[in-house]
């Protein structure tokens, strides 16, 4: 189980920087952590995402997952996947098909109760994904 890598602090206030964005009035940032296991196919991982907000599990969010490689941006095209809600509250499942081992930036686009985009850095080594702290 990976620890939370998102650098955003939990004691945030509203994000309403632009009036164009639809409600809610105070959009508190979401926190995420990722746990992935390799499947039989090379570079394909089954992942479980845990979302929370303000310490409580975040349910009912639409999650679209994209990836990019920090050391070679724009060069890899991996199809974005939509995560499906899992059994436990705040859990979402998806399958990630990567191109190679190494550090990937996992981009989560959240919609629904929270509109946000989170970026998590994980190292995928062929068996699991470990969070990266630099």
């Amino acid at each position: 189980m990976g620890s939370a890598v998102n650098h955003v602090r939990p004691w945030l206030a509203a994000t309403a920087l632009a009036a164009l964005v639809a409600p809610p009035a105070h959009a508190q940032r979401a926190d995420a952590s990722l746990a992935c296991r390799a499947t039989a196919t090379a570079h394909v991982y089954d992942c479980v995402l845990t979302l929370s907000r303000g310490g409580k599990p975040l349910q009912g969010a639409g999650v679209v997952v994209g990836v990019d490689m920090p050391s070679m941006p724009l060069a890899h095209s991996v199809a974005p996947v939509t995560a499906t809600p899992g059994a436990a509250p705040g859990e979402y499942h998806f399958r990630l098909a990567l191109e190679m081992h190494g550090e990937w930036a996992v981009k989560l686009r959240l919609s629904g109760p929270v509109r946000d985009q989170l970026i998590l850095h994980y190292d995928f080594d062929g068996t699991r994904a470990s969070p990266v702290r630099r």
Binding site: V8, A13, L17, G66, P70, P80
Partner: protein, 298 residues
């Protein structure tokens, strides 16, 4: 358009700015391994402007281009009298220095109770302007291509002008050009700055597409790829670099046919192509032939 296609097209669009930046320098006869640094300057500048100071995207992008052009000018002033490989190495050194400086850059501001800004090697998160203004991926794609079209049109117009011809003359035979009285040094400085501004423009858009940048994004490989795209696509027209990007990012990568082997295939294609076409696919010869026939000129 599905998410995957939007993603691939976005990558092509963003990479095209960097490829065009390398292309402009190549036409003027200079090989630069350092354009990714100006891509980075643009990314950080625009990100700082919008995320830390609430500037609108247009103003932030303009600032990015200005700083990118200025940084390029400074590098050019110190190095432009160098020949071929030495100039290339100088640009490499400058680009790596820039990347290290990005790793040392720590500047954060409190915005709405949250600390935002570049945080050294950890990167610069929270460049949310596009996101917060309700622009979806498709909308931003249109913006990227809109800006790209304006740039390419400008370059195509320039190429048909006297300035464009002068540039090519400087690139293909500098001694000859100097003999007819062209101020080589001033032209090259202008090109170097312009190339830096173009790269910075791409970087600004990249930062807002990604919402996050880090120093590692701007490493040598990015610049080397851009250079390869410009050279493979062809040096005869501004559409050449776009072709190069589309071939690798679009066809080779997008089709996923060569998953895991793509670089081997692309590298092989480039090396073999250069034997028969050293100036790329859309080189000056073919462009001249096409335009002459197509436009019925001359």
């Amino acid at each position: 358009m599905d998410g995957y296609t939007v993603g691939v097209l976005t990558n092509i669009g963003l990479f095209s700015f960097l490829a065009l930046s390398a292309y402009v320098l190549l036409v003027a006869g200079e090989l630069s391994f350092g354009q990714q640094a100006f891509f980075g300057v643009g990314a950080y500048t625009a990100g700082v402007a919008t995320a830390m100071f609430g500037w609108p995207l247009a103003a932030a992008t303009a600032a990015a281009m200005a700083l990118g052009g200025l940084a390029a000018l400074l590098v050019g002033l110190s190095t432009l009298r160098l020949r071929g490989l030495y100039f290339a190495m100088a640009t490499l050194a400058a680009a790596e220095m820039a990347r290290i400086l990005f790793e040392l850059l720590r500047w954060q501001r409190e915005v709405n109770g949250e600390r935002v800004g570049p945080d050294g090697a950890q990167g610069f998160r929270g460049i949310r302007w596009v996101f917060e203004h309700g622009m979806e991926a498709g909308g931003f794609l249109a913006l990227i291509y809109g800006v790209l079209s304006v740039l390419v049109t400008a370059l195509l117009v320039l190429e048909r002008s006297r300035l464009g011809a002068t540039l090519r003359a400087v690139g293909l035979d500098p001694e000859q050009a100097a003999a007819v009285g062209i101020d080589i040094h001033r032209i090259k400085l202008g090109v170097v700055s312009a190339a830096g501004a173009v790269a910075a423009l791409g970087g600004a858009l990249y930062a807002h597409h990604n919402t996050y940048v880090e120093p590692r994004n701007f490493d040598i490989m990015l610049g080397v790829h851009a250079l390869a795209y410009a050279l493979v696509g062809g040096l005869g027209t501004a559409l050449g670099p776009l072709l190069g990007v589309a071939l690798d990012v679009g066809v080779l990568e997008g089709s996923q046919v060569f998953a895991g082997y793509r670089m081997i295939v692309f590298g092989g294609v480039v090396a073999l192509l250069l034997v028969v076409r050293p100036r790329g696919l859309l080189d000056e010869q073919i462009v001249n032939a096409l335009t002459r026939r197509g436009w019925g000129l001359r």
